[in-house]
Symmetry: C2
Subunit: 896 residues, 2 copies
């Protein structure tokens, strides 16, 4: 009944849970968190840092392993010991009324995380130590202010009392004495406030405010540990894909005070402008204030440049430290400091967060300055930042009215008239900007999606038809926006009390999933010269090639312009969905004889040939992988349930027997083609094996196109790819079809042309028997969408709407495996396939064409298992180039 | 472009393709085929066998590797050399007019196969050698008869001429001369017939009949090779799961003649009665005849016992050989012999085919006789033979009218009134025998399936709902019988010109898939004392335990009676489908609040508890694995398309707005629950995680039931199994739910009880991460139905109807992987899971509960990878016991 538990390390009691600042350094971020590693490094470098110590992230994780949470053995003893060291350094004593040591307690995870407990200041205060402070500073107002701040923070953060209760008392007091701002309150006023705060604590917690400084410290440390798993922190980690098992460190540091008069102050600064990347100190400070005043917005801080006049010596010193730290860390730093009676203290240094544009500029500048290498520069820009810059986006300074939120299914933003059907969107879209709004889309809607600026659907997941097509088209899309209700009769959309009529302007933000009322100011996406430099450097570093998934010549052109080195997936069925072709495709499917089918196929042949020729031309000199027909055929037919309703209507009305008969016939066919689980049904290579002639037509179209290109002096590299192969016999049978037709075409034309034959690896069995498949396949391409579906047993159409997102939220899955490749399951199959494939054919070409091909973590994995290329949407090619370079650079670092 | 080809062995030219009879022995069946190994062994034992040689199966396989087919290098030379040896032994010469050697050419695969080329006799005859025969026998009639037989056989079999053309000439001649039977024809007549036969050959092939004996021999050998891949042979191998790459051997043997007068004859005999197993020579013979006369039924053979009077010496000699050969082979032998002028020649010995009943009796008798061991006896009965004996079956001697054929979805046979809906079947079934006939079945039909004697559906595969439920109930079922058309309005069934009205008697033979008109005589299935002995011996030998899948106490009782040592799968949802529960289940699904859901669950609790109690009681002392809710919830709701039609009808009619509103509401809910691919959607453990309370109710029901059993002095062993787990976090979350509820129940009741917690392994990811799952799971159970679906990407609902059966027919798959476990793909995942699971938890209990658990080859695989048990339908338990023992015995043999 008991779960199997891995034996714990035997020496838990002797483990080092606490590090003095001087014992750590910058390399210890995992253990000490970002903040802890930063103050340790500054201490080591001899900068003026108030003494203190850090409790490790391991201690936090151990805390959670205790039943109900608890300090691991030895932790408290080590805290007390470290405290003694700090007392020795400062000459003060914790809890000593005559010369009390006060400390701040702050959380500090490896990655900075909003939502977690931030800071408790002035810890160690009680009525006795307060007197010591008042005596030593000679400033009772300062003392009572410190006390009331402490109780307020401790009450809110550690004791979890509604902060409004404290603010209410402060406001009352100010009203009572006619004070406008906090600083107008006297020592007396503040003493009274502090007393009343104690009353709030008593009422809310049923206990007196803890007066024992050690008790205060123990409670504060516990609160930091607990804050690691509060819902906001969890949500943040989920969103940012930060593992939940890192834990947070706790920093305990001697207090210094910026509010001790006109020679004191506090501030924050970036060594460069975090918004633009300009090389100039950027920040804010406040004279005679404590840090929380700045953060809380109680007082308005001043630009840091003013400090040059107000505290010139300190400013100079600070400038020196800033430059030194930037050079030392070789990155833009985010600094916190306090000046206590003319003495500068450094409280924090860390790499500063920056906007996408700043990230690019700083990286490029620092290379020019000789501060970092090109490889480092490439690693300084997050792929997601590149994504922001590449797509059209809403001006961050604009104020907008968000009326609903859905899935951010395809990035970018667009404004247009809301239009509720594809035909109208297709018509109106020729001349005006439209947003196609549908309950969900299907192939019949594609002609309306192409001219639309953006797409909004009420149903469907991040891999629904709408999402996939939109990403392919590089258009913003919000999918599965369940907050909106579409009334197709009234032609309106309503959401959260707002009503949008057809023709009204709306804006979709596909990057965030927000539906916005009306038009809003936009910033255009583009590849700036700095960005181009980063991408060029990335190209020098990466080993993985980046190819693109493109179904049309126009997509191939975009892909090539963005740096694609090949087409990794050209889906022939998307050509079939085009309005002028669908009737012929239906004719082919409904054909009653092989003859009739071949007739329809003959009509499709020249159309497909032209399509392929366009793509081969656009990718002249580069490989183009064309996948033979894949989707279940009923996708090309009218929808079953719509037909059912129409037929039933006609039958009950009884007024049009001729139409009824025709509909019933069609219904019967569609019914026969229906499948319980089409994703696992008659599709993929099964189609060409069951419907003789289809593969042959496609092969003929591909090779005739290539031969024509060759005749025109071009250099086409067609590769023919077979989908959904599960057994080597299937692949062999298609191989025979393809080879025979190819020979025939070349014989007819009298020219030879080289082409490759290969297979997708998208069923688990395909991966498990890759050694057999490699006997026929010259290349593999991982179809990780399907492979993920089958490996998990998740239908993407259903899972994302019905449980998958909840799963991720509830930590039942670390990430959505359709977005981030699941290394432990799907990845294992991929490793197996690579190994087996190479065993049979050492030079086999292996790539990936699932949507993971454009996702940075997945790109890294593809690098790690030795793929030749990743293939992604044309619009994501630059992102993949960057991610591939980062993977290579990280690998090179590991190898060093 | 070229497929990768494994290099051929370099020494092909030096390979030995031909073995003289004296060079082989019984161990060489793979190489020489069954017939070749048999004559070799008899030759070795000194029995009188006409000299000859065997061309190996490898030569046949090599023939197919040549482009368009061709003799491998060296084969013909070796044939000529062997022929010389035969000439020396016989003193005759091939093609020598003065003393010609004539030979027979026969195919001989490892397994006897109807449909392949059988025999060409008298090869080597032409006008010249004929004269030699006539001279040496002094019998022109015999000579001309031999010639016309040779041309006729050669023409038909080697030259592939329609045999009717020859028969027509023979009939004409008989009419012409007024002959009743062939033997009335004179030498002159036969010479004329032979000449006319040559004319037929000339007309049909455009060439003269080949007169060169070597040319005849070369053509005949080629024909044998070719016959290996004729459609009938392929179909036979597919049906009997014989690999297609075995190849056939060719036997060339000196002719002896049974038609040389009253001291000559020919016959076949079994050393025991192949129908009953009685220990007595059983067979037929004919005086003055050639073997083909017997086979062709031209003359009626006599019981072999008559030979004791007609040829007493020879009979005695033959009896001796028969006994000797049975003892030598330690098995019942199928013998062929010819007597030429008083001299007995043995032509063939092989293990004789026998009926299921005979197989059992012979095996048991031979143990009693001390001829074979118990282990050998167990291996002498095919599991499929046991299956025949265990189920009710049509008396093989009855003549029946088959009106259609479908899939043999569940074995056994039954007669009853054809009834077209479940309600009527449920009603009428209480008092009369009914056969439920439906287009397809769904859970709504189960109440009609339970009382029915048998089930017949027009659609759906071998794993459709109807098939699965029928097998579970042990009722015969024919599924996917596409030859029948059901008219639900007229309430008739039509097939191939026959019409069956509702209430007419029909018989379904689920073992063969035949639909039969009216009632037919049946034999009851039973476990006879002999069979019991075999099963007892099997139990002594096998290492694998055999458990059963049972959802109801009645199934558990059947399972236990048939030897099940536990319940490996109790599907709780089947209980949900029962008519009285479905409304409550729907209430639970449609619940708008957690409260409402819990109310419905509370109603289900006592019902489920009683179900579980019944099963635990029936299996007292044995483990019972109960799986928590698994299927997609919409399976419990009304069908979407039916609702859609009803709603549309109401809407168009507009005469019942109240009902319309209600239906529309229901439709909306059903629509929301609909999934594109329900097999990969919200089901399995996902249900209990998304709908809090469901798992808890089921756990409470299981444990309360177990506690009550314990209180009654019983010894219950409940095991709680979680379906469709893909990630360890899912399993952990359910583990937490289960453990908490279990503790609570035991606390409330004040008794402790041991239960196990485990998981199904049915997603590829589950198998790939089994080491992680084993941290929580004390047992694994392979759900190979789902695992096969996901590993191949085959939906069983769709694949079997749409392409899978064609795949098997076309050799795109070796077997149907839903019937026979796919060792190379699914099996690899199973091996991985076993290995990983044991790595984490060495004593983990691992079994299989997919339908493969009752299929002999799959059972063998489960034995090989070290599972603890297989679990199958109660009715298949004896079959699995036998298969498990055979696997163990085969393993012991390999180990020797």
């Amino acid at each position: 009944m008991a779960p199997f538990v891995v034996p714990e390390e035997a020496d838990l009691v002797t483990k080092k849970w606490v590090y003095l600042f001087r014992e750590g350094d910058r390399t210890m971020r995992d253990l000490l968190g970002g903040k802890g590693a930063g103050v340790a490094e500054m201490t080591k470098a001899g900068l003026p840092v108030p003494p203190g110590f850090t409790i490790t992230t391991e201690a936090c994780n151990e805390y959670y392993k205790q039943p109900g949470g608890g300090f691991p053995d030895g932790l408290w003893d080590q805290v007390l010991e470290a405290l003694k060291d700090v007392e020795q350094q400062t000459g003060k004593k914790f809890g000593d009324p005559s010369n009390p040591l006060l400390v701040s307690v702050r959380s500090g995870a490896k990655f900075s995380m909003p939502g977690m407990m931030d800071t408790v200041l002035n810890l160690g205060l009680n009525d006795e130590t307060l007197q010591g402070i008042i005596t030593s500073t000679g400033n009772p107002r300062f003392g009572y202010d410190a006390l009331r701040r402490f109780i307020q923070m401790f009450g809110k953060i550690v004791l979890e009392i509604d902060p409004a209760k404290f603010e209410h008392i402060l406001d009352q007091k100010k009203q009572q004495v006619g004070a406008k701002v906090d600083t107008d309150l006297t020592a007396e006023d503040l003493r009274d406030v502090a007393e009343r705060f104690k009353g709030v604590v008593k009422v809310e917690t049923g206990k007196d405010f803890p007066t024992d400084p050690y008790e205060q410290l123990r409670l504060a440390i516990t609160a930091v540990f607990r804050s690691w798993n509060n819902p906001r922190a969890i949500a943040y980690r989920n969103f940012n894909k930060i593992p939940h098992d890192l834990g947070t460190a706790v920093n305990v540091q001697t207090m210094v005070f910026g509010n001790m008069g006109a020679d004191s102050g506090t501030g924050v600064a970036f060594t460069r402008d975090p918004k633009t990347g300009e090389r100039a100190l950027f920040g804010e400070y406040l004279l005679n204030a404590q840090g929380e005043d700045v953060v809380a917005g109680i007082r308005t801080p001043q630009p840091i440049s003013l400090m040059a006049q107000e505290l010139p010596e300190v400013y100079k010193q600070f400038l020196g430290y800033a430059e030194m730290l930037e050079k030392h860390y070789r990155d833009m730093q985010d600094l916190e400091f306090t000046v206590e009676r003319g003495k500068l203290y450094m409280l924090q240094t860390r790499s500063g967060k920056r906007s996408a544009a700043a990230a690019v500029k700083i990286a490029v500048d620092m290379v020019d300055e000789g501060l970092i290498t090109k490889s480092e520069a490439v690693q300084r820009v997050e792929p997601v930042q590149l994504e922001q810059l590449l797509f059209r986006r809403i001006d961050p300074s604009a104020s907008v009215t968000v009326i609903a939120r859905g899935l951010n299914a395809s990035p970018g933003a667009a404004t247009g008239k809301a239009i509720f059907d594809a035909d109208k969107a297709a018509e109106l879209g020729k001349t005006e900007a439209v947003i196609l709004v549908r309950p969900e889309t299907n192939p019949d809607d594609v002609h309306g999606m192409i001219p639309a600026q953006g797409i909004l659907t009420a149903r469907g997941g991040a891999t629904s038809h709408a999402a996939v097509v939109a990403r392919g088209l590089g258009k913003p899309c919000i999918a599965g926006c369940e907050e909106i209700t579409i009334d197709m009769e009234a032609r309106t959309l309503s959401a959260n009390g707002y009503l949008v009529k057809e023709g009204d302007l709306i804006t979709v933000n596909g990057t965030t999933g927000e539906v916005i009322l009306g038009a809003v100011p936009m910033l255009e996406g583009e590849i700036t010269p700095d960005m181009q430099k980063i991408l060029d450097w990335a190209d020098e570093i990466r080993r993985l090639q980046v190819w693109a998934n493109a179904d049309y010549p126009r997509d191939a052109q975009v892909a090539r312009a963005r740096g694609a080195q090949g087409i990794g997936l050209c889906r022939t069925e998307h050509m079939f969905f085009e309005e002028d072709r669908l009737p012929i495709v239906r004719e082919m499917i409904l054909a009653k004889s092989l003859e009739a089918r071949k007739e329809a196929l003959a009509k499709l042949l020249p159309i497909q040939k032209e399509d392929f020729k366009g793509i081969l031309k656009a990718m002249d000199g580069y490989p183009v992988v064309i996948r033979l027909l894949d989707p279940p055929l009923h996708e090309f037919l009218p929808r079953y349930d719509e037909l059912l309703v129409e037929t039933t209507e006609l039958r009950v009305r009884g007024d049009n027997p001729a139409e009824l008969e025709e509909k019933e016939k069609l219904l019967k066919v569609v019914e026969q083609m229906r499948e319980a689980n089409p994703m696992l049904g008659l599709r993929g290579c099964r189609l060409g094996l069951m419907f003789d002639g289809v593969n042959q037509m496609q092969v003929r179209a591909i090779l005739s196109a290539a031969l024509e290109c060759k005749a025109e002096g071009l250099d086409p590299h067609p590769e023919i790819m077979i989908p959904l192969v599960g057994h080597v016999n299937e692949l062999k049978a298609v191989y025979d079809q393809v080879t025979a037709e190819a020979k025939q075409v070349m014989k007819e034309e009298g020219i030879e042309i080289h082409y490759k034959f290969g297979t997708m690896i998208e069923t688990p069995r395909g991966a498990l028997t890759a050694d057999e498949l490699a006997k026929y396949a010259e290349f593999f391409s991982f179809g990780t969408n399907d492979l993920t579906q089958m490996t998990f047993g998740f239908s993407r159409d259903d899972a994302e709407g019905k449980f998958l997102l909840q799963y991720v939220e509830r930590k039942l899955l670390p990430t959505n495996p359709f977005q981030v490749l699941d290394r432990n399951g799907v990845g294992k199959l991929m490793r197996t396939a690579v190994e087996l494939g190479k065993r049979t054919r050492s030079d086999i070409e292996i790539g990936i064409c699932g949507e993971h091909g454009g996702e940075p973590s997945s790109v890294e994995f593809c690098h790690l298992i030795g793929l030749k290329y990743v293939s992604c949407s044309p619009y994501r090619v630059p992102i993949a180039r960057l991610a591939a370079a980062q993977a290579a650079a990280a690998g090179a670092e590991r190898d060093r």
